[in-house]
Symmetry: C3
Subunit: 360 residues, 3 copies
């Protein structure tokens, strides 16, 4: 277990007091015991700290650690960043090195050094797994998939045929990378497209042959370095070229990335977000929770779609969008506010009142 000195060094942070105190784990201030490291990252936590019995804590800069009853303290100028370093330090690798005897490794697969393959995992023909990568139980790695070094694939992760994954990639439980794209075509021009064009005003002709013919997905998926894919997220294979996720992009649970999508570097796709087929996202794009991007669109670098926003047209670089259909955030908020005043306006106009009152 690390000492306060070791923690301070790992966080590149200043420390004070008895630096040889060892801690077992991090805790909330109010419930921290003598072998816990209390996390009181802002002055608001000072009072709560008194309720616990921690001897050591991570504190905001300038905190008076002695007055708080502590024997040692680490000072974190940026609390959440300290939390990143600290939780990494206190975490342990969840899976050991070595191939569990119940795992099924195809003889043509190649495993790097220090690889771990969990119980009942399957590694298919021609697959390659890089040095130090660890697989939990029940993981599937498909034919000819390539996984880089130092990765972590949790239970039930499904890596499809021909998927390429970079270094240090984390795949959460039951995520699916490389399932087939949702791509179908009718013999005649699709009535959906006709409906779109007429905005639903015209008659939609019933097709003589409504059969959907499947376009197979041959392109696989290409994932960069330092990517994370959340629990039960799905990233579909491309049609003839790979669906592509750039370095450092983080994808949350239940997110859907459709076939042929290209996502840049250092993007964040929060829970249940979705990018429809063939759309292209730039670098550092943020999709808030359940934000969606329609098919065949582009979203520029540094654009932000707030939670629940649905983009139905291209989004310029740096733009912050909100609503459905997505609109510039300030414009959308102005619309929402005006809408709240509309019922009274209608009543006032009906009653002959000349001007709307300035409410809200």
């Amino acid at each position: 277990m690390p000492t306060i000195a070791e923690i301070a060094e790992a966080l590149q942070a200043e420390a004070a007091g008895n630096l040889s105190i060892e801690v077992d784990r991090a805790s909330e201030p109010g419930t921290a015991g003598p072998r816990d490291l209390a996390l009181a990252l802002a002055p608001a936590w000072a009072e709560t700290l008194a309720r616990g019995t921690a001897r050591a804590a991570v504190l905001w800069p300038g905190a008076d650690w002695r007055a708080l009853g502590l024997q040692a303290a680490v000072f974190a100028p940026r609390g959440r960043l300290a939390l990143a370093g600290l939780t990494q330090l206190l975490d342990e690798s969840p899976y050991p090195a070595g191939v569990h005897p119940s795992a099924i490794i195809d003889p043509t697969a190649r495993l790097g050094r220090n690889v771990g393959i969990g119980p009942l995992s399957v590694v298919g023909p021609g697959a390659v797994i890089g040095d130090g990568t660890r697989l939990g139980p029940h993981v599937t790695v498909g034919t000819d998939a390539r996984i880089g070094p130092q990765g972590l694939l949790h239970a039930g992760a499904r890596i499809g045929r021909r998927v390429r994954i970079g270094a240090r990639v984390v795949v959460q439980p039951n995520a699916v990378i490389g399932g087939d794209g949702f791509s179908f075509v009718t013999r005649e021009p699709a009535y959906v497209e006709i409906a779109r064009e007429t905005l639903g005003r015209g008659e939609v002709p019933v097709p003589a042959d409504p059969t959907w013919h499947r376009i197979h997905s041959l392109g696989g998926v290409a994932i960069g370095d330092d990517v994370e894919v959340g629990s039960s997220a799905t990233i579909d294979a491309g049609t003839i070229r790979p669906t592509s996720i750039g370095d450092g992009t983080k994808i949350d649970n239940l997110v859907m990335v459709a076939h042929n999508v290209v996502i840049g570097r250092h993007c964040l796709l929060c829970g249940q977000a979705a990018v429809a087929g063939s759309s292209v996202l730039g670098d550092r794009v943020v999709l808030g929770g359940r934000a969606g991007v329609g098919d065949n669109l582009t979203v520029g670098n540094d654009a932000v779609l707030t939670a629940n926003t649905a983009a139905l047209s291209n989004v310029p670089a740096g733009r912050v969008m909100m609503g459905y259909p997505a609109t510039r955030m300030d414009v959308q908020i102005e619309s929402y506010k005006a809408l709240r005043r509309l019922p009274r306006l209608l009543r006032d106009l009906a009653a002959g009142v000349p001007k709307p009152r300035k409410d809200e």
Copy 2:
């Protein structure tokens, strides 16, 4: 197979006719055969009942069972409640007791009495499984997880490290409990926050170092008694304290509960609903289908978010909310109605008509 007398006793309901008739299963009235128990829970089903050949039925209170051509009847004052009792009676446990020889049980795991572990399931080091709990095939139970008695874990359920689960909990196929939280931080203040503050009007500075640093999830998940978790739902582990689900709360398919969330007792979270990081829900809260709660919010006891509602701020106790952003339901409906009248108002005003017509 149960007799009508046994069914009536189990449902604590009144019965009439030949109570010794045995039935094999419940059926819709129109397709019920002589060994089926027809379910005609309201007078609207009377006509349909004549099309089938059931000898016995569950009927609404006061129904004339003889006139309906039946030999026996059970009367259900509250139909859906009767359905609960009846379907439970007719269901059988899907998995037998005993450890399937293909399952991998770590020698340090402890199994209670009458436990069932299905084919190819994995129970990790230090895990504890309570009396009578049954696991289907392909279930993963992580290191040091504790599962209470009389539970049911279906195929592909993933129970992560250090997850605590109470008694009589049902986990549907491919649900993930205890995946890592989606928690990342940049070295500099995140540009997302800057964008939020300026509502997207200002310039969003491109960060010198856009790298997302991972905050590890050490807190696990704590789930109470009588909870149900739907197919492919995900409940993420907390950062340093557990994500928490109260007794009797029911969670539907594809729902996302993020890290550090606290959910009270007897809540309902319907399909695809989501609660973002660190938010707190009271007791008996209902989230309709695809309703969402933003991060770091509180939702009071007995609040209802109707389907598709997205709460972007705190919701008081007992409040019924609708829309995006979530608004009191009656206010939201008034807004929607006013919006439908707005195009005509704009036309009327442009044409110089003094008052809007009272349409709709």
Copy 3:
């Protein structure tokens, strides 16, 4: 590997040039090599084609293949349809015939001819698998499930008890068919219904007994022929009759189909769409990405719900709907446009301007 002549025959398309050229795979025009078949399905791709070194291509009708520097060409009057035939031709079956020695097949299960069961898959008691159907690794087939011929079940697919699946059905990784429905009832009338009736204006009574009683799902799922179910999609079992999916319907990733739902033939349910309990969809219905249908509703034949649309009431046949709540698309677009003009209208009226300006 197929020749140009064979490809043209398979696509029922015209071809020109050296028809004996063999190709290994399809490629985008700009990156196609000498053994690739470049796909240039519209004149817009002509320029890009020059950057690659393909000898053969699929071209738009009337294209001058010699001028494009090619030695052979196939002409596709409907590009995406050609893509369907072509990708099928170039794809190979992902799983071999035969039962992998690590698979667990119950002795009472029956397998047809030429069936493939992947590593560590489980086929339960009484299950039946039709001729030529292939299961990947880690697939679960429940007790008494029946799967038709020529199907394809990918890794981690969960087929529940009593599920019936037709011919040529494709189930993508981690899809769940036949989990339990989300169906619960309180002893007293549910306060949610009371809240709905009062639109949230009245007081919601706190129930004396908030316990949710489970209605078990005994009805299974019935899936027709030629259906596809996407990655991590979930289709719940019906209560006493099966949840039902018609022939030729395609269901995308993370879609939720609730208990007792009936879906017609040749429908498309795009990513993250949802149909709540007991609703009925006609034939050829299209739900765009994340479109939702509330519970106990009907959606007529050929109706289209655009992406993100939420239907809270019945949708007539042939209607194109948009928005939340779902409204006829042209009406909804008019509302959106009017809403954008509303803030200025309010300002103008407050300032005493008699008529709104005709902007936008």
